[in-house]
Amino acid sequence: MRSRLESLGVHLPEREVSTADLIAAMAVTPMFDLEKLTGVKKRRWRADDDDSFTLALAAATRCLERSRHDASDLDVIIFTSITRFRNGMNFCAEPGFGLLLKSALGMREDALHFDITNACAGMMTGLQILDAMVRSGAVRCGMVVSGECITPITETALKEIRDPIDAQFASLTVGDSGAAIILEAATGNDRVEFVDLFAASKFADLCFGMPSDRNPGVAMYTRAMEMHAEVIQRLPAAMGFYAEKYQTDASQFDVVIPHQTSSRAIRSALELCEATFGKLPETCITLDRHGNTSSTSHFVVLDDYLRQGKIKAGDRVLMLVLASGIIMGVVAITVGELGD
């Protein structure tokens, strides 16, 4: 048995903040043109009453509206965000957000709930788990949801960046969002084809998200040079392995969705992938408008392309995963009828 993506809901806060506005607010002028280098022109920004919980709830609600399932049908809910802010900027370790969402959505008391944290691979990790739970028959259908209230790291970076090659520069590329998916047993051709993730933990300390020690708030510190020099260079061998393992290559896909880091990083990563996986199809990018939405990024892009009609039912989608940990891997989904 396989699982299928039955519904998808994305929520983006209305407010937009341009990269130019951010740069103008900085104490130092970056050495390079941030907008040109990253490709991020603007990103969505949380409203005053938004937090990880409200962003997740809005996405989950939209996902259920588009689904033929009710909240009471869901056998499990998996919350997968990095950020855990609730009631504004209150950091909440427990109870878990899966539980908070379960009760807010009106799910059954005997439905399973838990949180997964796996940096920007959170939703993909949740997808792998839920896919396995549907395939094993442990659940009939369930939801993976993330509410990523991530712009607080931008606020910290704006206060703290002093060095033109500061470890906090990547914090200026992120945007807020929520995304939710429902998986159920597949009956037709649309299905989750494969999910294959691993942790190259040799590089676990290249990117940290944690409270700042200089200001109240959270910060992210990335060693971008090493990420490029070491991690990205491993893509050809990894993709060659996947091509052989799944007897596949780029020609088997209609679109590719990379993690939305920066346009330059994506370009060089995809070139390396092509060395062993073949010429990739159309690359889906929304980071110019949404920035890097962290754990929701692939689904924010998928939703955007579906609504624009650029991805259609029957399309084979290849998602490339790259996250702190370092989590690497691929997710292949043939999408069905999704959307309103």
Partner: protein, 300 residues
Amino acid sequence: MGVIIKASGVSVVSQDSSIENAVQAARNCLEKAGIDGSQVDLLINVGIYRDDNIMEPSIAALIQQRLELNPDPVKADMQARTFSFDLMNGACGFLSAVEVSRSLLQTGVYRNVLVVGGDVHPSRRAAPGFPFASVGGAVLLGSVADDAQGFGAVQAHSRTENEYFGYFGQGAMEDFGVSGRQFAPIVLQPQFALQFSQRLSESVQNFLRRESLRPDQIDVLVTSPIEAGFPAQLAANIGLPASTHVIDIHPELGDPHTAAPMVCVNELMQRGAWQPGARILFALVGSGITTTCAMYRVPT
């Protein structure tokens, strides 16, 4: 397919680091299992309160790094890869990890799943008022063909009544100030132990009815060591006979929170109470209030 516990471990010389404690427990566990770290395909960390309040990467990835579980498979051997993630569900996280592992093991992709847990004050110092014992726990899960062996279905239940009850680990970032890496805002609501006990008793009784089990069919009880005597009280509430082995690690250790069920398993194995064929009831309770129950039959 049954999910079985192949080995268990604890942090022998516990430190004020959730990473260090989990690493120690994992090494202890793998040594007993007689397997090499490279054979671990999946690492799940169920700990909540962690060093420096790190939010990314997962604590599991940092533990995996320290344990050197296939740290660089692209350079070494892509056939031997380890995946890792954090799973958080308060004191019930261990059984959530079991339920997740059942499905992941069934896909045939994984053979050895290492589950670790444990909590520390984020400051990595002994902190007065931090309610949990800083101890790391680990178990190695695997599968057997016979589904009458090992863990049965995990039954979860939560009822919130618009109010979350129990441990409340929440605080305003503003109040964290510049010491956010040392901040653990934990509130224990008054009377929570009594409420946990009542709710868990109800859940266990429902669970036993659903599984058509009588109290006298339970050889061992593993529950959350909320306070000393909590396990005995639960055993009395659900009518377990005197012959049932009820483990209470609280008098000696306190409450190791997310690691507690794994520490209990390790203790039972050391005491010789983990006998082939034994039927073990896991009944966990945590914030929410959330309760989670499962039966485990020690493989014969």
